[in-house]
Amino acid sequence: MPKDSGIGASSKRREDVRFLTGAGNYTDDINVHGQAYVHFLRSDIAHGRIKSIDTSAAETMPGVVKVFTGKDFEGVGGMPCGWEVTDRHGAPMQEPPHPILAQGKVRHVGDPIAAVVADSLEQARDAAEAIELDIEELPAVLDMKAAAQEGATLVHDDLKNNICYDWHLGEADNDKVNEVFANAAHVTTLDLVNNRLVANPMEPRVAVAEYSRGTDEYTLYTTSQNPHVIRLLMCAFVLGLPEHKVRVVAPDVGGGFGTKIFHYAEEAFCTFAAKACNRAVKWTSSRSEAFISDAHGRDHVSRIELALDADNNFIGLRTDTYANMGAYLSTFSSSVPTWLHGTLMAGNYKTPVIQVNVKAMFTNTVPVDAYRGAGRPEATYQLERVVDKAARELGVDPIALRRQNFITQFPYDTPVALTYDTGNYDGTMDKLEAAADLAGFAARRAQSEANGKLRGLGINCYIEACGIAPSNIVGMLGARAGLYDAATVRVNATGSISVMVGAHSHGQGHETAFPQVVADMIGIDESMVEIVHGDTSKIPFGMGTYGSRSLAVCGSAMVKATEKVIDKAKKIAAHLLEASEADIELKDGQFSVAGTDKSVAWGDVTLTAYVPHNFPLEVEPGLEETAFYDPANFTFPSGAYACEVEVDPETGQVSIEAFTAADDFGNIINPMIVDGQVHGGIGQGIGQALLENCAYDENGQLLSASYMDYAMPRADDVPFYSVDHSSQTPCTHNPLGVKGCGEAGAIGSPPAVINAVLDALNSGGKSIDHIDMPVSPSRVWAAMNG
């Protein structure tokens, strides 16, 4: 029987009511009396030297409050990078400055050159057109391999080359790796591209900043996944403001998918300009502007080699990747191809020798940073594509080859720095085989063929590392932040509870799922618990939401704080019941003395905490506790996915006929929400595999600069998905045994789709090893006729 409340119940989302009635409060819905509007004049060329900027005409235009250029920001810091990667020789990465407005050069189409603050947005745009620019165009650096050559044009003149870092992980001894490959019975090699994507949350970014001269206080409303991180970075590294004078609010946020983690120049600009203009300043990105100013995702070019012995055991894996950083280092960009990618190259397999090499490159493109999965999809794609190719080359069943090489003993230390605490990859694959009715595939293929279509089945597995931690380890690896989270459980006198959490909800349903945990622990109704998030003035601290961490990290902090509350409440209850604290039990909202019928209700205890007439002398009044939680390890969700496609052999059009996901997320708090997270991830993964492609031309102009050319998945591009979450190996080191589910779908689905397309094409008699994503009809047709 499904539960109807508490942990494990599919409680309906309470946040839905405001979203369904138009009563949400998104950042663009916030207007501050007297606000001015900013328009950014952005570079329309990819690379150029600024010779002069003349703003004099613009300054006299109607409605103009002030015009800013890079000169106005010479005294403040640039946009910081939150992770210092150390290269293979022990040297720190090359870290160029990233000014709020361009200084000296423009380095990508969209790089902000000047900003006009005016009474209205159209006046700001009018004035921006009156700014006279003299920019000497320079050759655009676009191809990563060419950019790495000696003598290549430099994106940053002060750096020695365009290589941010040249990094490796795993087996450092090349001779040893070469020997493994030399002795292999079979080696499969694959060159592939992980296509550049644009995250495209449906809500474009917005920032509204206000400043009070009377109190010297700032408030920034922004579309962020982590308001405390924004405040810390902006205050400490960019503007040099005292943190206690700055409030950052991320109200309802319309999706993030990673791209709203980062601290952006527009946030710092509005905050700075609010004081400089002594007026609130608002910026609302248009979608067109988002394409050239939101950090992009993925964009890796890789070669991967898999060595197998005569019995088809994986004996070695080597991968070389060029990872695009774009023109500047966005907040967490440097960590994505390294600690979020190289560490995942073992996948679900007990490959003993693994070497990962990554060159991170500067190019004249929009900065690239984390997008749903962040490094893990790139690793999974490489690994699961090369395994599938190996199965085809060897003529063995792709599922059997995977099963044969699965890790089966836990904990397992990988050769790439992780310790998997738990998992059951065979069990999850069993679930997939049943849920996807793989036994019936042959009949479905015959039916498709009778209709003139090719049908393919693609399988893949994935492992992901979520809830990135612990802080002391990530600190050694270069993180410039801790990766704990915090929660405060504030019990009111009447027994209702507000929980202030550091995680931010922008679609994940925290406002519903988090109370299920607290209510379950105490035994009260979920409606008595409310979650407060997204406002630095209300919450002690928080690292925000990304990396599928909210429940595993912040949820654990919430559990710890609730445990403290319960401990204290038991002391009060013991006093009221004239019993020993050790004998007090809490069940269904009643404190009782073990073995007696004496009890006192939750509400009576909480009221006593605030009206402490009859109260234990050694206990403080009130009932409020805070906990910080720093996990001992990552969590390791895993899964197995199956995709069935049909290919129209005449046009190359691919349609997804079925998609099945079997995931192991450990314990599940709200199954409905977890299923929804997986659906969304699969939708994005199918988007990457079939449709989405962020492309530049040879001059660095963005070709896919709007929804007219950037193909977003639509309702009729995808089927109903089948998801199975019954394979559960609880995380061993957090109190809820949860692992995280937000990114799995986007990590596990692209290789399944591509494997399926190749299976379909090969079933039609073609011998096609690989097609790069997105497998558009044009590309499929070209491969079939190549």
């Binding site: 309906k12 989302r13 946040e15 839905d16 009511v17 405001r18 979203f19 369904l20 009635t21 138009g22 009563a23 949400g24 998104y26 663009d28 819905d29 207007n31 159209e122 495209n200 949350p201 449906m202 809500e203 474009p204 309802d252 946020v253 319309g254 999706g255 998918f257 248009s286 979608r287 067109s288 922008h506 679609g507 994940q508 349903g509 409905m672 929400i673 299923d675 929804g676 659906h679 969304g680 991830g681 699969i682 939708g683 994005q684 199918i686 709007s706 929804y707 007219m708 977003m712 998945p713 639509r714 309702a715 009729d716 995808v718 109903f720 998905y721 089948s722 998801v723 199975d724 779908g745």
Partner: protein, 161 residues
């Protein structure tokens, strides 16, 4: 400035607008009806869908003055006076047809237009009709399911509840 008058969710409203003022701007900025969202500038995403004289239109792609005299319906007018969700809204909540909520107003308004035209759409018809509404969160699964449920169809056999 030109005066524009229309009925919005049953209330007569008017305001002074420029020629270039979009219907979405009039709703959001002049009337503070911020439930109608703007997610793109090329008429693709559909977050701004409202009803004009009973038909779904993209309000960010229509001038406010073109709606002069029209009967306009927005997401704010969908629930009953006492706040009770209408059948489509309720189905979206019941079937988890929304996550971040940003595309949701447009989805609900499009779904209402669909069900008016076609009271029992098939899965394929729902997916086709949503061609002009982008959602980045749900993978569409639960949106399609919710709309079919709102039409009174049994959705209990749809994969993966």
């Amino acid at each position: 400035m030109t005066q524009v008058s229309m009925t919005v969710n049953g209330q007569a409203v008017s305001g002074d607008v420029e020629g270039r003022t979009l219907l979405s701007s009039f709703l959001r900025e002049h009337l503070s009806l911020t439930g109608t969202h703007v997610g793109c500038d090329t008429a693709q995403c559909g977050a701004c869908v409202v009803h004009v004289n009973g038909e779904a239109v993209k309000s960010c792609n229509m001038l406010a003055l073109e709606a002069d005299g029209a009967d306009v319906g927005t997401i704010e007018g969908q629930a009953a006076e006492d706040g009770t969700l209408n059948v489509i809204q309720q189905a979206f909540q019941d079937h988890h047809g929304l996550q971040c909520g940003f595309c949701t107003p447009g989805m609900v308004m499009s779904a209402a237009a669909l069900l008016k035209e076609n009271p029992r759409p098939t899965e394929g018809e729902v997916r086709k009709y949503l061609e002009g509404n982008l959602c980045r969160c749900t993978g569409y699964h639960n949106i399609v399911k919710a709309i079919m449920a709102a039409s009174g169809q049994d959705v209990s056999n749809i994969a993966a509840e």
